[in-house]
């Protein structure tokens, strides 16, 4: 029960599940991601319902989207998912330094992704694709922007965790936090894969 029992001494094999608090956190987070799935599912549905409502004289997705930029962003984000897996594997081997390194790399890749996205939005706005231009633009920015906000949140969160582990070390209190942040990061990755297909690829061919 007590969060203290493993603080000193050897870390157990799966430190994130060593305490009841840890197990609660992991399960609670899985459920939270279930709710997030409904959230993004609804955003996707709204986008699909409105994506053809471009309005007269406004740029359509086909004209706007630059698959090259988006593809690079996709590769970056998928790579960051991989680095976060390495971080968790390092955690399970109790290699704190390696874990921290992989986490820092994950954050950097996240920042690169975000930078590309901001640049992309900036371009779109200049081409007349503003938030209030049409139902298409509103639902586009809301869906992709919600995802971007999730990435930003994840970056801040993981950075704080890196600082925390640096101060307190890896133990049965910090391990579940890192593990859960990893789950979160995978989730936003999966959402992005759907955005890439549904918004960009389908938008380009349609």
């Amino acid at each position: 029960m007590s969060a203290h029992s493993h603080l000193d001494g050897q870390l157990p094999h799966e430190p994130e599940r060593a305490t009841l608090e840890g197990r609660n956190k992991v399960l609670g987070f899985w459920l939270f991601l279930g709710g997030e799935t409904v959230l993004f599912g609804t955003l996707f549905s709204a986008f699909l319902a409105l994506r053809d409502q471009v309005g007269d004289g406004n740029p359509s997705g086909q004209e706007l989207f630059k698959l090259m930029t988006v593809a690079i962003a996709t590769v970056i984000l998928l790579t960051s998912s991989l680095t976060s897996v390495f971080a968790i594997q390092a955690m399970h081997r109790n290699q704190v330094k390696a874990m921290q390194g992989w986490l820092i790399l994950t954050v950097l890749l996240g920042l690169a992704f975000l930078g590309l996205e901001i640049y992309e939005f900036y371009e779109y706005v200049h081409e007349g694709h503003k938030f209030s231009t049409s139902a298409f633009s509103s639902s586009f920015y809301t869906l992709v922007g919600f995802h971007g906000a999730h990435v930003l949140f994840g970056i801040v969160w993981i950075s704080l965790l890196i600082a925390q582990v640096a101060r307190k070390g890896l133990n049965v209190v910090t391990a579940p936090k890192v593990y859960v942040a990893g789950m979160y990061w995978h989730f936003i990755d999966v959402v992005w894969v759907f955005i890439f297909t549904v918004v960009y690829l389908m938008g380009k061919v349609a």
Partner: protein, 629 residues
Amino acid sequence: MAHAHPVKRYTGLMDWLTTVDHKKIGILYLIAGGFFFLIGGLEALLIRVQLWKPLNNFVSADTYNELITMHGTTMIFLAAMPIIFAMMNAIVPLQIGARDVAFPFVNALGFWTFFFGGLLLNISWIAGAVPDAGWTSYLPLASPTYSTDKGVDYYVLGLQIAGIGTLVGGINFLVTIINMRAPGMSFMRMPMFTWSAFITSALILFAFPALTVGLVALMFDRLFSANFFEVSGGGNTVLWEHIFWIFGHPEVYILILPAFGIISEVIATFSRKRLFGYSSMVFATVLIGFLGFMVWAHHMFTVGLGPVANALFSIATMLIAVPTGIKIFNWIFTMWGGSIKFTAANLFAVGFVPTFVMGGVTGVMLAAAPADFQYHDSYFVVAHFHYVIVGGLVLGLFAGLHYWWPKMFGRMLGEGLGKLTFWTFFIGFHLTFFVQHFLGLLGMPRRVYTYLDGLGFNNMNLISTIGAFLMGVGTIIFIINIIVTSAKPKTAGNDPWEDGRTLEWAIPSPAPEYNFVQTPLVRGYDALWKEKMDGNEGMSPAEPIGPIHMPSPSILPFVMSLGLFIAGFGFMYANNDWQAGFFKDLFASHAVAGAGLLITLSCMVIRSLKDDHGFHIEPEELTNKGVKA
């Protein structure tokens, strides 16, 4: 090693603001939900006064729209849901033999966000811009074109903030029930109320995010000129209806399932029999929860989705009547041959059964799509949902409150006054709503502030208004009962009804802070009853007596929610037509909104960085004292 850092323990108001104890949070939910229930009830009485005679001008048409909108929104989101959460907080951990919930901090956060969201919504009355587009807030009525004042903004932001609280509360209960059951408490030994809390929480988890998105979209339309529902910009108003009802229909089952759970406990206890068909009850609850997601378009039969869609949703809706019917029969068979005690709690439970059946029957009538073209938007629908919500949920909550009051507060509610509450409320209820079926069939539309003379509506509306006041009297008697009871000494024993079957009756009333001195060992369904039948004194423990770890109290949930509250105002008044000056600069720059969000985010950072070591209660301190109420 077991010694943690000493923790500051607060008293008085600070104790309530910082508590993370699920029993106290339950009481907070009850007080706040009860308060909003009174506000919503007052609004209902004003509506009924306006309608007591034809062409009445007690309130204006505008005010009337505000009253019906705020009545519906308040009752569903700020009264019914919180009182359900009150019962779940007070009872579920006890029923599964847990010392605490899975996330005590998050639980407190859930309460405070609900509270501040509700406050924000109701401040609209003071601000003079009240939501008036109905509790369903359909578009285009709720669009910036047709709702030009800030009324609908209050609706959007108030519900958004309150909704966060509900969502995290639901996750807390799911994890609590999955991970924290006492040894031997398998899923198929869980009391029915806990089962219903479990399924309701799952519905919350999968339904509320849809509402979140709907509200965000409406907020973006209203505050940042988005075009989700703006037809001129290519938006689609039917999209809102889909999103709202994909949330909205599961929501009505979120409301009714806990009542089903309460009724199952109360009827079994006072029939002094095991609940009939327990496994089929569990199965029916799960099935209702599942089907609840497939029927939302029965609220949209008249939109024009086409005959195929209407037919499918019609059949799916009627299907729900099957598991519901299973439950009704199980309750009747539980009573059958039992030695029934008609306590006040049981009166409410027994009164629930036929009343809810009537609501279910009108539901199936409404589910026949072609017929619904006649019923839709008439008083028939109003009668239907009040039969299921008031005659169902509210009677269930009254039953639960009378039944568990001793467990929450250590005192039994007066039986005499309780029975009087039942009869006045019950008769008042049927007077109010029975006639509304016929008003609807005669063609009286809902949500219209008055009606003409000579349509045959007069007498029935008068009866309805009289009934509403009788329900008001019933509520006042209940409040008197509470006040009288709170003056009595705390004498309730562990098992004040003497027929308790489930674990909560194995521990003192009210439950001590740590619930169980020793985690109990569960040996069967109706855990306590089984021990009684085997001739044992209470539960056998599953662990030796030892120090008990408790979470520390924290003010952060309160401050976090306050931050959201401030941010809500900031967003709402950012594009207000302020006169140039300090306030304009403050709001238009989004400084207020930003500051609010910053408060909330900083609290999250503090929470993440500062470990909560909690504290330990040592064996010598385990005095079996209950929580103070």
